[in-house]
């Protein structure tokens, strides 16, 4: 055997720990291939940025599989919006897996204990009977709207041009689908204490009650578009403020307490918190695209068109829901005020973003 061996020249360092030896690059301890949004890279950015590659950045060989028409694995053509730099966007809520599970799990725990404590205290039995019907039929119908938004965003998270965009849409979907299940199981829990609740009625109302048909049409229209960004936009900048918040805050949160119901508002408040985050993320993305030096004008016109199309349907949906406000025994909220607040909300969101509401929504 030869005298030469690897061992003869190797002088392994005593330790494999940082700083055990100093040589070129020994202290390069930050991901250095992207520009952080702020002065320092955040943990969210480190685990997110550039995981989805882009031929315009580092993808030397381009995407290597395509659809039969030649469209690559990821394509900028999956939305009509244009960007001079899709990589600029960072999710405002900076969610990555750990923070996502922590938040979702906290909500599940909170709802679980609210339901359990209410049951222990016998609260369901003290609910106003008319109100129980409202929960059964109207909250029961509304859960399907939330599910529809969850499916729309689940679909959309395939198509964004960067990891940051897709993951923000993914967590949005996770929140919506959790909430749809929260409502479903909350009603099922109530029905254990109140056997008169018919859990099938919610879906029947969703499919047949005229009050819900506008809402259903608006949700189906969101699911019907193939533009992923239009979906994300319509969910968070149009449907949520005009219909979803109207139903959640403008009705259930406000009205429940007067009917002796202290649990429903807690369950629903989780979704209001979810929406604040999803709204902030969407608004940030839309803001960046609206201000794009090259494509801003094109994008604003496109967004205004989306606003008009989905806004019209959402406004009609909101108006059709009016009868719901006259159902409870104790009338503590009025539909016109609730609708006005919803309109104010969408006006302020779109105003901030420099978008133009259609005439119906301005004047309504």
């Amino acid at each position: 055997m030869n005298a030469f061996t690897q061992e003869a020249i190797a002088q392994p360092p005593r330790s494999g720990a940082a700083g055990a030896a100093q040589f070129a690059g020994w202290d390069s301890r930050k991901y250095n291939y992207y520009k952080p949004k702020g002065r320092h890279a955040t943990h969210y950015e480190d685990v997110t940025v550039d995981v989805q590659p882009d031929p315009k950045r580092y993808l030397l060989q381009d995407f290597i599989i395509s659809f039969p028409d030649g469209t690559p694995t990821y394509s900028e053509t999956w939305t009509a919006a244009k960007s001079s730099d899709w990589h600029q966007f960072r999710a405002v809520d900076e969610e990555w897996e750990r923070t996502h599970y922590q938040r979702q799990s906290t909500i599940c725990g909170m709802i679980g204990s609210v339901v359990e404590n209410a049951r222990r205290a016998g609260a369901p039995k003290r609910l106003d009977r008319t109100w129980v019907k409202v929960l059964e039929q109207y909250l029961g119908a509304y859960k399907h709207a939330e599910f529809g938004l969850g499916m729309a965003t689940m679909h959309a998270q395939r198509y964004g041009y960067t990891q940051m965009i897709n993951s923000a849409i993914l967590t949005n979907s996770s929140y919506k689908l959790r909430f749809a299940q929260d409502l479903t199981l909350y009603l099922a829990e109530l029905a254990l204490d109140l056997p008169e609740i018919n859990l099938d009625l919610g879906k029947q109302h969703w499919l047949e009650n005229p009050a819900w048909q506008g809402t259903r049409e608006a949700v189906e229209a969101i699911n019907g578009t193939s533009d992923y960004l239009e979906k994300y936009f319509a969910v968070n900048l149009v449907f949520e403020p005009l219909v979803a918040e109207l139903v959640r805050s403008g009705f259930f949160m406000q009205v429940a307490a007067a009917q002796g119901d202290f649990t429903t508002p807690t369950v629903i408040s989780a979704a209001e918190g979810d929406y604040q985050r999803n709204l902030a993320n969407t608004a940030e993305l839309v803001h960046i695209l609206s201000q794009d030096a090259e494509h801003g004008a094109h994008n604003r016109a496109l967004f205004n068109r989306w606003l008009a199309e989905h806004g019209k349907r959402a406004l009609a949906a909101a108006r059709q829901l009016q009868p719901m406000w006259s159902l409870p025994h104790h009338k503590v909220a009025q539909f016109p005020e609730a609708l006005n607040r919803a309109l104010e909300r969408i006006r302020s969101i779109t105003g901030e973003l420099g978008l133009e509401l259609p005439a119906e929504l301005k004047a309504a």
Partner: protein, 556 residues
């Protein structure tokens, strides 16, 4: 408190059962009547029957369970640092993590994205929660792995290569192989990609090798972090395997799908074999310092997980549904591993290519030789001298292995299909597709490109099937470049602007480290470009010579 009486028993109350909860949740969807859903994921399959969800999945129990898993992972990472893990970790192992962890977050997130497609395609609602959970799981896997990599970068002796990780992922010839894997999950026919290639084959057959074999080897090298993360990742896989199986059962139900399923099972099995066995076989046998002869070798693990658990227990039963199972493919993969030294040749190739890597590979030594010879009799005759040459040429000033003429290695062609080079020389195949010449590592890889990824399959039109695209041969991107310029363009240079990120050794000392000056003066050439430029006679001779193989010169 009396025995047996607990707080839980006093306070626990009845609640909605899991079965009832799952049934209620499965009723959230509806058939739209105002506007139809956008159908954006083409497939040539027909899914008539609703898939069932035997696992009865509900998000309210899912999130807390996953958070708990996370807590254990992050707690263990903290404990590893407190226990000074990096003092005793084997650098040989951690270096390979620069490659492995550059690749894996992309296939993970691709799996998340692909759930969109399945959630839309499968009729009925039962399995949608399963797909939702898989989507969030895969988001978890991708970001938890990015976090682990950052943690190595912060704590390991040589962070170079971790610091450029996603940029390196986009540029390196080895990570392309991983991109072929990840893009395969979400491009082309939706069922081919997300159900068959991802769930039925990658997850069901190959995740054990990825997420169980890797952790075991990590622990043997003093790395307790990777096992914590990857066993946690693996614990989500049974859900994904369940999703895949349920959907597969619905697809099987329609005999019209059988031909496509036979095609896709072949393609997916063969390509998973080419890619995963190349990667994991190399990582766990060449990235380790542990030479315990009583541990199972990669092929022994393969026999247990791929042959017994997958082929015999999962694939064979498909025959009773009328699916033609290609036993010969499984036998061929096995032969490539045990008779044709597939992953040993991959490790050899990666080491030849060290100047364009972004991690360090040190030479295998006598202690390694003994283990390899014990597990793979005949190994030393084929590879022993090669690794001695490699050790000798690891000193700056020598010719880099990539261009060394002395040792006798012949740089390989690249397989157009699986992206691994054509390393089993006798199996090398050349064919024309649409008038262009391509090279393949094996007959089945040729079939995958030419026959499977095409607009027609056995007379049946397959308009949804994907296509291979992009600049698939890495070498072509740098054809005619000087090696030093190539490495600069790749970005594989350290912060001093001259020392290379990759090194053919583990000597953490500037005096021993290669710089751009040491590699300048060598011109990269694309074997495919050269082949295409040959006359038919030259080409015929070249192919015959290539198939005849090469011999490593005796080391002296």
């Amino acid at each position: 408190m009396t025995a047996g009486l607990t707080l839980n028993k006093i306070t626990s109350q009845r609640g909605v059962s899991i079965g009832e909860a799952a049934r209620r949740i499965a009723d959230l969807g509806w058939n739209p009547s105002y506007v139809q859903e956008a159908m954006t994921f083409p497939t040539d399959y027909k899914i008539g029957r609703q898939p069932k969800d035997p696992m009865k999945q509900v998000l309210r129990s899912y999130f807390p369970m996953q958070e708990e898993k996370d807590n254990r992972v992050y707690g263990a990472l903290d404990a590893a640092l407190r226990g000074d893990m990096f003092r005793n970790v084997e650098a040989r192992w951690v270096e390979w993590m620069k490659l492995f962890l550059a690749i894996i977050p992309f296939p993970e997130i691709s799996a998340a994205r692909s759930m969109s497609m399945l959630a839309r395609l499968a009729p009925g609602e039962e399995l949608r929660t399963g797909f939702t959970m898989q989507m969030i799981d895969e988001f978890r896997h991708s970001t938890i792995q990015m976090n682990l990599k950052k943690w190595y970068m912060e704590n390991y002796i040589d962070p170079a290569g971790f610091d450029i990780t996603e940029a390196a992922f986009g540029k390196c010839y080895a990570t392309t192989i991983g991109r072929q894997f990840g893009e395969g999950f979400l491009t082309g026919d939706a069922v081919t990609a997300a159900n068959v290639y991802l769930q039925v084959v990658a997850e069901t057959a190959f995740t054990n090798t990825l997420f169980v074999a890797m952790p075991s080897e990590a622990a043997r090298n003093g790395d307790y972090a990777l096992p914590t993360v990857f066993l946690s990742v693996q614990s989500d896989e049974s859900r994904h395997i369940g999703n895949g199986h349920s959907l597969l059962m619905s697809i099987l139900n329609d005999p019209d799908n059988h031909l496509l399923l036979e095609r896709d099972l072949r393609y997916a099995f063969w390509q998973n074999h080419c890619i995963i066995d190349a990667a994991v076989g190399t990582l766990i046998e060449y990235g380790t310092t542990n030479r315990d002869k009583s541990k199972e070798s990669y092929v022994e693990l393969w026999h247990r997980w791929i042959y017994e658990d997958y082929y015999r227990t999962y694939m064979l039963p498909l025959e009773k549904y009328g699916i033609k199972v290609h036993h010969d493919d499984v036998a061929a993969a096995w032969d490539r591993l045990v008779k044709k030294n597939y992953h040993h040749k991959v490790a050899q190739f990666f080491s030849v290519g060290w100047p364009v890597n972004f991690w360090r590979i040190e030479a295998q030594t006598d202690k390694d030789f003994e283990w390899f010879e014990h597990k793979y009799p005949g190994w030393y005759a084929e590879f022993g001298d090669y690794w001695r040459w490699y050790g000798k040429k690891s000193v700056p000033g020598e010719t880099p292995m990539l261009f060394d003429q002395e040792n006798g290695y012949v740089y390989p062609h690249r397989c157009w299909s699986c992206m691994v080079p054509c390393l089993i020389r006798e199996d090398f195949v050349v064919d024309e597709v649409d008038g262009k010449l391509y090279t393949y590592c094996s007959e089945l890889c040729r079939w995958t490109h030419k026959v499977a990824f095409s607009a027609e399959y056995e007379g049946r039109s397959t308009p949804a099937m994907g296509r291979f695209s992009g600049r698939r041969e890495w070498e072509e991107c740098y054809h005619g470049w000087d090696l030093a310029d190539c490495i600069k363009d790749l970005g594989f240079v350290r912060s001093d602007g001259k020392t290379l990120v990759p090194q053919p050794h583990l000597r953490f000392d500037d005096k021993e480290m290669w710089t751009l000056d040491h590699v300048r003066g060598n011109t990269i050439q694309s074997p495919l470009v050269l082949l295409r430029n040959m006359t038919p006679e030259q080409r015929e001779k070249h192919i015959a010579d290539y198939r005849a193989g090469f011999t490593i010169r005796p080391f002296q």
